[in-house]
């Protein structure tokens, strides 16, 4: 026990959780907590230029490192600016701890200056949220927030911290550990394993479908072992990219609206879909009535509420992905005869050969496919790729071969433009030894480009590759395909000059207009040691293809 202010206790709690970095912006209602940070040496605070970016940076930090990311803001507008970022983390199951100041407990409900009802606003978009009414509750709330964010299916937790609670003093003890209260089923039951093995052994045309749950549970080695043991091809969701190296002979690439054709056809033809840590997003399944129409579906997920939510499931296992896969692998080793899937693999490999996406265009303006190829070659397997949202994101998702888990960070569920750059900053802070590259569009980048100041001031050398087509590209693509080419309000024009914009902030900036310029200039950007923006001028008329229209069948894509 020691006497301390609530403000001091905040940092003591964060240190007890092993937090090393906090992203945020101070303000009136959180000023005393920032005062208690002054002179603190164990925690580095990264001052962002907008609170939304603080939330995305914390999210990117969490996804890259596997540890919770923390962001902090003042009350009112500071806290409401977190909303998009926190919902983004919630949709993609990312453990973010968001702390915001609140007006004094005596002023709550009086429409005080910079008061916002954050308890209500955060309630539907967090795994749980708290308001600390008394300083005595503070240590328990903070420790519980981390336990909730990281236990079971991860997710964001918000803590609302009134000004008087920060200022008051009490004898406090920071608990060493709090017990997570809610029951959690982590292990599969023996009968669940037996049934799964039975289905796997009888399958002639299995496909494994892996998602973000595999990455969060650290189950990539088990996923690869199971795939190799079964000789079953593996597709992933957007958030599952990297769960299996995408240059692995059994990897098919991403599934869905902008997925690889081979993945979409394999799922349509398979007789067993073995889904792990996925939520069957509409962007992945297309028309659920024609999704894996011939297959029995096995679904492993830690969240019981996901079972049967979007697609019918023949066998469900509510468990941690890593533990379930380990148990199934051990049981399978007793059972399996070899070579059952060889015909199926031949079929899948012939599809793959015939449908290999083309990337080696020499055109000017640059084809985005070629730009991805150039980035992939220069970046190497260590690079963490983040993306903005839209065409740039789907080109990256479709063409970029991710080699490791936690090396592809993208806004999946919410599709938040402006996510990629601050997420890259968070990822770079978490993993300073890895190159971090944001594959951006000109539209998305401008939604949080002010964070160039954050990156330069804090010396966070991330590289932004802007696929500059002067359009809100994905909306334009839908207008071209589904709205008679009526490009309503999607043309962005030629401003700004992104290279000069970067230079104005003190960052490295240049433009690539020909395919041959991308590689050398990207290398220069990465070697500059500075935050960098490479403005790649791409073909404004290029679409992301193939594309399964929303609600369409995976085997009926638009090809041209």
């Amino acid at each position: 026990m020691a006497e301390m202010t609530g403000a001091k206790a905040v940092w003591e709690c964060l240190k007890a959780e092993g937090v090393k970095h906090v992203f945020g912006i101070p303000g009136g209602a959180i000023i005393s907590t920032y005062d208690a940070l002054y002179g603190e040496t164990e925690i580095t605070h990264i001052l962002t230029r907008h609170e939304q970016a603080a939330a995305h940076a914390a999210d990117g930090y969490a996804r890259a490192s596997g540890r919770p990311g923390v962001c902090m803001t003042t009350s009112g507008p500071g806290a409401t600016n977190l909303v998009t970022g926190i919902l983004n983390a919630y949709m993609d199951s990312s453990p973010v701890i968001a702390i915001s100041g609140q007006v004094s407990t005596t002023a709550i409900g009086t429409d005080a200056f910079q008061e916002a009802d954050m308890l209500s606003l955060m309630l539907p978009i967090t795994k749980h949220n708290f308001i600390v009414h008394r300083i005595e509750e503070l240590p328990e709330v903070f420790r519980m927030a981390f336990a909730i964010a990281t236990t079971g299916r991860p997710g964001p937790v918000h803590i609302d911290l009134p000004k008087d609670v920060q200022l008051s003093k009490a004898e406090l003890e920071i608990p060493a550990k709090v017990e997570y209260r809610k029951p959690l089923k982590l292990d599969p039951t023996p009968s669940e394993v037996t049934r799964a093995v039975e289905l796997l052994v009888h399958a002639r045309q299995p496909v494994i479908y892996a998602g973000g749950g595999v990455i969060w549970s650290g189950a990539s080695p088990e996923l690869i072992e199971l795939a190799e043991l079964l000789q079953a091809p593996v597709t992933t969701s957007l958030l599952g990219k990297g769960a299996i190296p995408e240059d692995h002979p059994l990897a098919l690439g991403m599934l869905g609206m902008h997925g690889r054709m081979v993945a979409n056809l394999a799922v349509t033809e398979c007789d067993l879909l073995f889904a792990v840590g996925v939520r069957f997003s509409d962007r992945a399944t297309g028309d659920v009535h024609h999704f894996a129409p011939r297959a029995k579906v096995v679904h492993i997920d830690i969240d019981a509420a996901e079972i049967g939510k979007n697609v019918r499931v023949d066998h469900a296992i509510v468990a941690d992905a890593k533990r379930a896969l380990r148990a199934i692998i051990e049981a399978l080793k007793q059972h399996l005869r070899k070579g059952r899937t060889s015909e199926w693999l031949e079929r899948v490999n012939s599809l793959r050969r015939n449908l290999a996406p083309r990337m080696d265009y020499d055109d000017v303006p640059i084809k985005p496919q070629r730009a991805i190829k150039e980035i992939m070659e220069v970046a190497g397997p260590d690079a963490i790729i983040t993306t903005e949202v839209g065409q740039c994101q789907m080109w990256a998702a479709h063409f970029y071969r991710v080699r490791r888990p936690r090396h592809f960070i993208s806004s999946g569920g919410l599709g938040t433009m402006g996510f990629g750059f601050p997420a890259a900053i968070g990822a770079k802070v978490a993993c300073p030894d890895h190159p971090v590259i944001d594959i951006a569009g000109d539209g998305s980048f401008l939604m949080n480009s002010q964070e160039l100041a954050t990156a330069v001031e804090n010396d966070i050398p991330v590289v932004v590759c802007i696929f500059n087509n002067s359009y809100l590209g994905m909306v334009k693509q839908w207008q071209d395909l589904f709205f008679g080419k009526r490009r309503s309000q999607t043309y962005l024009g030629k401003t700004p000059d992104f290279a000069k914009l970067a230079q104005a902030y003190g960052a490295w900036g240049d433009r690539a207009s020909k395919p041959s310029e991308i590689g050398p200039k990207l290398r220069e950007a990465m070697e500059s040691g500075k935050p960098a923006v490479l403005d790649i001028v791409v073909d404004p008329d290029e679409h992301v293809l193939p594309m399964v229209p929303a609600g369409g069948r995976l085997d009926e894509p638009i090809l041209t």
């Binding site: 309630l123 539907p124 509420a305 939510k309």
Partner: protein, 159 residues
């Protein structure tokens, strides 16, 4: 769609009701009846009635179970439980002959007269939902001035 009943055991704290009801609101499911009581343990028991198909009922149960303040969600089958509701009734002032007819009607339905002034009556009736519905229908809007209803409470017949 079938009537469904959840018996939810949860922490007795501000905001818990909002966490629960928004799960229904978001899916455009109307809550037909909701009652709260405090258990001897200090936890709150919420009895909640709504209409939904099997799939949604199961999904709602799992989503509710994920909420931090919720300890348990029990699906109650009306046929395996005791169901009661209380209604308090206030009538308009009634002429003497009608007054006595209404008093008799309420008492015959199992109700009890609580108070009466200048021809108006306050009465209570407790029982099953349909029993109360029948009485209220038979009295009709001409007679009834105000009705306060508790919502339905359930307890399982299992010991």
């Amino acid at each position: 769609m079938k009537n469904r009943i959840f018996s939810i055991l949860c922490q007795n704290a501000p905001g818990v009701m909002m966490r629960i009801t928004r799960v229904f609101t978001r899916r455009q499911i109307n809550i037909d009846s909701i009652t709260v009581g405090i258990e001897p343990s200090g936890l709150a028991r919420i009895i909640l009635m709504f209409k939904a198909d099997d799939k949604h009922t199961e999904l709602l149960r799992h989503i509710l179970l994920k909420l931090e303040p919720i300890e348990a969600v029990e699906v109650i089958e009306p046929e395996d439980s005791v169901v009661r509701e209380v209604a308090l009734i206030k009538t308009n002032p009634l002429p003497p002959d009608q007054h006595w007819r209404i008093v008799e009607q309420i008492e015959r339905a199992g109700g009890k007269i609580i108070d009466s002034r200048e021809g108006a009556i306050i009465a209570e009736i407790s029982g099953e939902h349909d029993q109360i519905e029948r009485l209220l229908r038979s009295l009709g809007p001409e007679v009834l001035r105000e009705v306060a209803r508790s919502g339905q409470v359930y307890i399982s017949r299992e010991f």
